[in-house]
């Protein structure tokens, strides 16, 4: 056991303004249209509802664009187009489908900067993340699945894969473009046609993406995008032509969809909430663990379903970890999402900000100890300072409910068994992290933890070849890898 290092709590480092970084805003144009129609049958089509709603930028609360509100008639038109396109698309050779996926991937790479800026303006995430993560990983998913399109026979040796038909896909607001890629790339590779609905607060990059589809020459009707809020989503879920519903979002809505589809022959995959345990053992490389904890919870303002929102730290190193975490928080830069030096951007919407504020209040009133660095938040826009809670008990709301914000609840444990028990003490099971210098412990923990993905000595790593999905109320079905591919095909 490592000796407990004496730490003089009075001694501090000064993270001041002796050398301040000047603002470094990303200035590339985002080319966002003032108004977006629906994308049905390869054409931008005005909604039959004749209604549009405003999309605002969470970074400064300014209007970004107007987004069409699709009603039932519009959703029907989208499904009609997808159904009409299905016979030809599903019978096209795998190489032919792969050709379009490769084109989409390359066109997305060509316009990566523009899409990154649009994603940041519309969703509030820091430009560093949309530039270095969202857009490149989205392109990687298209490349990966383009490769599968003509190799489906190898995904289930001795059997044949057939597409499902028209799939309805509903995606969340935390990674708008990336979730779109996760959903449509495997579906198209397998020969399905699609009706997709982006989240109402973040539709801009999905609609910009339609111009890539046009440039790629994707046959009309193969991918249709309808925008709107919950009612539009309900219309998709209820639509008789949907062979499958794929949903990523909250557990509440996921349960609603599952109830709705019960008794039908529609397939369903759900990727829902999480309350991941990030487990730090006393022999862990502490500084890298601290960095991983920060990456795990503050990546994308904590709007990550697999965020490491519960830190379980072994008692013997708890003080040191908390001290170093607090120190690390003091030089996280919160502010303008378009500034290239921003680490934590804007909360996606006022509604989400209010939810975070409410849960943080409950944490304080239930007796947990709150730690926030002194940081100046912009006056306009939705911002929340990175927040730590220590002395958290398993019964606190902040330890049970998904906050989906930059808020970390810190609990302690004494033995590996206790860590596993506490990690499992949640309705969720999407992801977990293990930090230790001991390889055998990594293997043991990752075998025992009921979580779809377990990261060891790292956090929030994604690869198109690696399946992602949950246990328990975090949903079912996988995205990425061969497993994710098979969720969009039937084996005949």
């Amino acid at each position: 056991m490592p000796a407990k290092r004496p730490n003089n709590p009075a001694r501090e480092l000064l993270f001041g303004d002796l050398w301040e970084y000047d603002p470094a805003p990303e200035t590339a144009p985002a080319h966002i249209a003032p108004r977006y129609d629906l994308f049905i049958n390869g054409q931008f089509t005005a909604p039959k509802s004749k209604k549009w709603f405003d999309s605002i930028s969470p970074g400064n609360e300014q209007k970004v664009s107007e987004i069409a509100l699709a009603n039932e008639v519009d959703v029907n038109a989208a499904f009609a187009a997808a159904s009409a396109a299905f016979p030809k698309w599903s019978k096209a050779s795998g190489a032919e489908r792969g050709k379009y996926l490769y084109r989409i991937a390359r066109l997305l790479q060509d316009r990566a900067r523009e899409f990154a800026v649009a994603e940041t303006i519309d969703g509030g995430k820091p430009i560093r993340e949309s530039r270095d993560f969202d857009v490149p990983v989205a392109a990687a998913h298209f490349f990966y699945h383009a490769g599968w399109a003509d190799k489906l026979a190898y995904a289930a040796p001795g059997r044949t894969l057939a597409p499902l038909g028209v799939v309805g896909q509903i995606i969340p607001w935390n990674f708008p473009l990336l979730m779109l890629a996760w959903k449509i790339a495997p579906a198209l590779a397998c020969g399905n046609t699609i009706v997709l609905k982006p989240a109402e607060t973040t539709s801009v990059t999905a609609m910009k993406f339609c111009s890539i589809l046009q440039d790629a020459g994707l046959p009309p009707g193969v991918l249709n995008i309808v925008t709107g809020a919950g009612d539009t989503g309900t219309n998709i879920v209820h639509h008789p032509a949907a062979a499958k519903i794929a949903f990523t979002g909250s557990t509440t809505i996921g349960k609603f969809i599952q109830r709705t589809l019960a008794g039908t022959d529609k397939r369903i995959t759900l990727e829902l909430g999480g309350k991941a345990a990030n487990i730090v053992f006393e022999d862990a490389p502490i500084d890298q663990a601290v960095e991983g904890i920060v990456n795990g919870i503050f990546f994308n303002q904590g709007h990550v379903c697999c965020a490491g929102s519960r830190l379980l730290v072994q008692e013997s190193v708890a003080d040191e970890v908390l001290r170093k975490l607090k120190m690390r928080l003091r030089h996280l830069r919160v502010g303008d999402p378009l500034d290239k030096n921003t680490d934590i951007g804007a909360i996606n919407s006022r509604k989400q900000l209010e939810k975070i504020q409410e849960l943080v209040k409950s944490g304080v009133s239930e007796g947990a100890e709150i730690h926030q660095p002194a940081c100046k938040l912009p006056k306009r826009g939705f911002y929340f300072a990175p927040t730590l809670f220590s002395n958290v008990s398993l019964s606190h709301r902040i330890a049970r409910e998904e906050i989906f914000g930059p808020v970390l609840s810190i609990l302690t444990f004494r033995t590996p068994e206790e860590a596993i028990e506490k990690a499992h003490n949640t309705p969720y099971g999407l992801s977990a992290g293990v930090w230790t210098d001991k390889g055998s412990r990594i293997l043991k923990m990752s075998t025992e933890l009921k979580a779809g993905v377990v990261w060891a000595n790292t956090y929030n790593k994604f690869d198109p070849a690696s399946p992602f999905g949950g246990y328990k109320e975090s949903g079912f079905g996988r995205e990425g890898g061969k497993q994710g591919l098979l969720d969009y095909a039937q084996i005949v």
């Binding site: 004496p6 301040e20 022999d283 890298q288 960095e291």
Partner: protein
């Protein structure tokens, strides 16, 4: 020299904690994404100039070469707003020549002693080299640790030798070169940093490399050493300084290293008593970028004394 009790690498690492390679390299990759513009860039460039240990360590060094190096260190450019460098760094034989030009100035004279770069000479020889450099007027001694002894597990010997050199230095500042590329692993670099820091005095340095091996200062080993310095400071209150050396040739790189300092150790280390760059070509690039910031255009290469050999 009195021998201390043996120190095992295993117990030392268990005490100070291990380093994860993937994690540390991920951390420093974030420094590279920082965008430093306008006034903050100019400030960083000037700060970096003031931190340079302008170095010449060649077999063909002469008193004349050292003289022009000293003049360059005093006046890196005709723009008076550009500061002098922190020091010049030369072989012991040339200290007295540098002293003639630098006496009374702010530019210190550093000298690599202790059978630089291998350190493979008897301790008595190494110590007498240190004493000679000090008596010739060196303000700072850059020593090499015994990597062979470290890798053979003789950690106490390594530490005792550092302590012996420290004593031979008297009031002269000591910089302990770990030669990170020969220690190879981040765990070793962290362990060697603690070994050295525990016998160094406040204001003494730990330094990455000699510049004489294939791989020198990197953001990764710089970060491991900065974090060691931070942990040691929080534990003991002793402020140890840091010097990455070798391989930092461009202003852009230097700014990335400064970002690491700012975000790891904070404002107190952003000065040349706490942080140095061991470099030769770097100075010209810093000056080139400063002139570019001022005039808006890059000047012809011959505006600056390009090759380090022509200082």
């Amino acid at each position: 020299m009195a021998r201390s009790n043996p120190i095992s690498l295993r117990s030392l690492i268990s005490e100070i904690g291990p380093v994860d390679q993937v994690g540390i390299e991920e951390r420093v990759a974030k420094y590279i994404t920082r965008s430093i513009k306008k006034a903050s860039k100019v400030q960083a460039l000037k700060l970096a100039v003031s931190m340079v240990d302008l170095t010449t360590l060649e077999g063909k060094d002469t008193p004349g070469k050292v003289a022009s190096l000293c003049l360059k260190a005093l006046h890196p450019h005709d723009d008076p707003s550009i500061p002098s460098t922190a020091a010049v760094c030369v072989y012991p034989r040339l200290v007295k020549h540098a002293k003639k030009l630098l006496r009374g100035s702010s530019v210190k004279i550093a000298s690599v002693a202790t059978a630089f770069p291998s350190g493979q000479a008897p301790l008595a020889t190494r110590l007498s080299e240190v004493r000679a450099a000090v008596s010739d007027g060196a303000d700072e001694i850059d020593m090499v640790i015994s990597r062979g002894a470290f890798l053979a597990g003789e950690l106490a010997l390594v530490q005792d030798e550092i302590a012996a050199v420290r004593d031979a230095c008297g009031k002269t500042t000591l910089k302990a070169i770990l030669e990170t590329s020969e220690l190879e692993t981040y765990d070793n670099i962290r362990a060697a940093s603690f070994l050295a820091m525990r016998v160094l005095r406040p204001g003494d340095f730990i330094k990455t490399s000699t510049g004489k091996t294939s791989s020198n200062a990197t953001l990764g080993n710089n970060q491991v050493m900065l974090e060691a310095i931070r942990d040691f400071y929080l534990e003991t209150g002793t402020e140890i300084a840091m010097k990455p050396a070798g391989g930092i040739r461009t202003a852009k790189q230097a700014i990335q290293f400064l970002i690491a300092v700012k975000e790891t150790l904070g404002d107190a280390w952003l000065n040349n008593a706490h942080y140095r760059f061991g470099a030769s070509a770097l100075l010209n690039d810093l000056v080139r970028q400063l002139v570019k910031e001022k005039t808006g255009a890059y000047q012809a290469p011959y505006t600056f004394s390009e090759a380090s050999g022509s200082y």
